[in-house]
């Protein structure tokens, strides 16, 4: 059983429990042990790209360093956490000035300079488990289901730092959908922003953006939409005005692996 440091993040503890529990149970079924570090801190939700911001980057570095100290790679599920942590790691590795300032603040026993490998849960499925292997373990395939993957903005961009998939022509979620037996639906708005960040202030704008995403998915014949982001899920469900169901990808994963009922019991 391969072990990884698992960073759930704030939302997975509260409003997005589904995203978390299904991720854990599925990982176990796939022979992966996810270990949560003690005393993790919230990543901050958004990465500050400004070169003169250091304090806002520290919590992500602490998480990265915890994984480094445990000698394992770091796994995240929430798109926002993933985005923040990967961008932080990228900047620490490529910007000496920032790495120096961060380490001056943190005074770790050994300076952190980007050693940790960061996986999104989807990357874990693709690169560690393998979609072929996953396919073999599926017991309830989503046969005939047309599933639209929603990447949003956080999972792919900036592609230089996230390096997860092609930012304009991604396949990782579609390959995941194929592995669990579904039919992926490609639609142009899958990598456009849903407007989640503005939902508190400007409901109209959030509704317009999320509506455009859901309409595009529905227009291409999707039966459902899957996402990795709690805020996207909230916004697409709540504000889009669409009747198309939206799920976390981990929920479908657990169901395909036959774990969902067990979870709910």
């Amino acid at each position: 059983m391969e072990t990884f440091t698992y960073y759930p993040g704030c939302t997975l503890r509260t409003k997005a429990k589904d995203l978390d529990t299904y991720a854990r149970s599925s990982a176990e079924a796939l022979g992966i042990s996810l270990v949560e570090p003690a005393d993790w801190q919230c990543c901050g939700g958004a990465y500050t790209t400004a070169k003169d911001e250091i304090a806002t980057k520290l919590s992500a570095v602490r998480t990265l360093n915890a994984a480094k100290e445990s000698g394992t790679a770091l796994v995240t599920v929430c798109s926002a956490c993933h985005n923040v942590i990967k961008q932080t790691n990228y900047d620490i590795s490529n910007n000496d000035d920032m790495a120096m300032k961060v380490n001056n603040y943190l005074k770790l026993s050994e300076p952190y300079s980007g050693e940790t490998t960061v996986y999104h849960y989807l990357e874990l499925l693709r690169d560690v488990v393998g979609f072929d292997k996953l396919k073999e373990k599926v017991v309830n395939p989503f046969k005939g289901k047309k599933i639209a993957a929603y990447y949003g903005c956080l999972l792919l961009r900036p592609s230089k730092a996230l390096a997860m998939d092609d930012p304009e022509n991604p396949t990782i979620m579609e390959d995941f959908i194929k592995a669990i037996g579904g039919t992926p639906v490609i639609y142009a708005q899958r990598n456009e922003c849903c407007g989640g960040y503005i939902t508190m202030e400007d409901k109209a704008q959030a509704a317009k953006r999320s509506g455009a995403v859901m309409d595009s998915a529905k227009d291409q014949g999707a039966d459902m939409v899957i996402t990795a982001c709690p805020l996207c899920l909230y916004n697409l469900r709540k504000n889009s005005g669409s009747d198309l169901p939206v799920y976390y990808f981990t929920e479908l994963l657990a169901e395909a692996l036959g774990l969902k009922e067990a979870n709910n019991e």
Partner: protein
């Protein structure tokens, strides 16, 4: 023209505005275009001209979704969203200029709103 502010924005964003070839693709791809008074290409151009004050006062700062579509698609690798962020930071860093206060939060909440939204809003809009 405000040289000091201009230099600060350029340093903070790390963006070389002179790389812009004025194609307007950032504004062509921006999902918040309709909500913005100044559009992504204008942010870049106004920073080049040193016209920072109007940007500091503009509501456009809080309409940018930080979705990075403009950053990813800019043919010249100019990264307009980073300019918007640097200007926004310069705005909220000013004394008493936080865009969001804790008192406003309860009215914005509903049962399903994820923490992520609040955490992010505070990170982006306050200092």
């Amino acid at each position: 023209m405000n040289k000091n502010l201009q230099e600060q924005i350029i340093r903070s964003s790390g963006v070389n505005v002179l790389k812009c070839m004025r194609c307007g693709k950032c504004s062509g791809t921006c999902p918040s275009y309709g909500e913005m008074e100044y559009h992504p290409h204008q942010f870049v151009y106004m920073v080049e001209r040193g016209e920072i004050e109007p940007l500091l006062k503009s509501e456009s700062l809080y309409k940018c979704l930080t979705c990075f579509a403009c950053v990813e698609r800019c043919p010249r690798n100019v990264e307009p969203a980073k300019v918007v962020e640097a200007v926004r930071l310069a705005a909220v860093r000013q004394q008493g200029n936080n865009h969001l206060t804790p008192a406003q939060i309860p009215d914005m909440l509903d049962d399903d709103l994820p923490q992520q939204a609040i955490v992010t809003a505070f990170r982006k809009y306050t200092k």
